[in-house]
């Protein structure tokens, strides 16, 4: 189907996706309420985040009905961000290691706001 005619889809699709977004948001909020920690917390947060982002792009922004040339031109470039994130994470851990080593952990005391 060409998008030249405009994106016309049954309203039911939007309502279902809308509901799904609500449920997924509630789930990701529950992760915090339930107090999950560690790898379980991070994987759940990422799972719900990618599901939400995916259905917003695919349905609300109509990407699944667009032609492959447009979809790849828009969705392809952000993939390089994975490399960027990886590089910064590696470099960040290195910097943190240096700081731990050279500036021996200061005994930080936090004062409560005093006014």
């Amino acid at each position: 189907m060409s998008s030249e005619e405009g994106q016309q889809h049954p309203i039911a699709i939007y309502l279902w996706i809308w509901l799904l977004l609500f449920v997924l948001s509630a789930f990701s909020y529950m992760v915090d309420i339930a107090g999950f920690q560690g790898i379980l917390r991070w994987s759940l947060i990422l799972l719900f985040m990618f599901l939400k982002a995916g259905i917003i792009i695919a349905v609300f922004m109509h990407m699944q009905w667009e032609r492959l040339s447009l979809a790849t031109a828009i969705l392809g470039p952000p993939v390089v961000l994975i490399v960027f994130i990886g590089l910064m994470a590696i470099e960040g851990s290195y910097t943190e290691g240096l700081r731990e080593y050279f500036f021996s952990p200061p005994e930080v005391t936090f004062s409560t706001p005093h006014h």
Binding site: W18, D32, L70, A73, F84, V108, P113
Partner: protein
């Protein structure tokens, strides 16, 4: 179907052969209205800007040796006598999703040429956007009152404040801009501009922008507030 694509006498193929066909000949690549293609390209560039903010936030959070403030406690709000973690943030999230839903419906009714319903749905979207910005202003003033500054805060790592103000500030700026953009299009819909040219593409294009703002919030919610 695709009679309106006059640039090629050949029929448009689907899938990977369609991909090759679109890119390989000396003609228009995107068989989409130019306004929509350009909005997508703008959103792509915006993706990189927000990614830079989120990556720099990741980096300062990794590198600091001082404990990061616990967002669950920092953003807790008193309700019914108990501190509820992230209460306001959860409400803001639901408001933005609701506005995305009304916007998607507005686009749909636009292509059905239902002018009145489009105006109503877009007005609802704009109002929800305004309430989102209002709550963000409330959250900012609450944190500023508690002593959060771009250079320090009473809860932990000093970089927390600069990351918070930068990321949520830039997102709030996008929401504000989106509301102004929405109002412009609402006025044009009301005036019947798109009935006259029999084309409601402009509503879909403003919709793309609005959904993007919601999309960015999904990532901010996950990485800044929940992580």
């Amino acid at each position: 179907m695709s009679e309106s694509v006059a640039s090629s006498p050949d029929e448009l193929k689907e899938g990977t052969s369609g991909f090759t066909q679109d890119w390989s000949s000396d003609k228009q690549t995107f068989h989409a209205p130019w306004g929509k293609a350009m909005m997508w390209i703008f959103l792509l560039s915006d993706t990189f800007i927000f990614s830079c903010f989120l990556i720099s936030y990741m980096k300062v959070r990794i590198t600091t040796t001082v404990p990061w403030p616990n967002p669950s406690q920092v953003f807790a709000l008193e309700a019914f006598g108990y501190p509820v973690p992230l209460l306001l943030i959860a409400i803001m999230t639901f408001i933005l999703i609701t506005s995305s839903g009304t916007m998607a419906m507005a686009v749909n009714f636009g292509y059905r040429k239902n002018r009145k319903v489009v105006v109503w749905l877009m007005t609802a979207t704009a109002l929800l956007g305004v309430s989102f910005v209002g709550m963000q202003a409330f959250e900012w003033s609450k944190l500023i009152e508690e002593g959060v500054r771009p250079w320090g805060n009473p809860f932990g790592a000093a970089q927390f404040g600069s990351c918070f103000f930068m990321i949520t500030g830039f997102h709030g700026l996008h929401v504000t801009g989106g509301v102004i953009y929405l109002i412009c299009i609402i006025l044009k819909v009301r005036r019947g501009d798109y009935d006259r040219i029999d084309n409601y593409e402009a509503v879909e294009i403003v919709g793309l922008y609005w959904h993007f703002v919601d999309l960015v919030w999904v990532f901010i919610f996950a990485f800044f507030y929940l992580w």
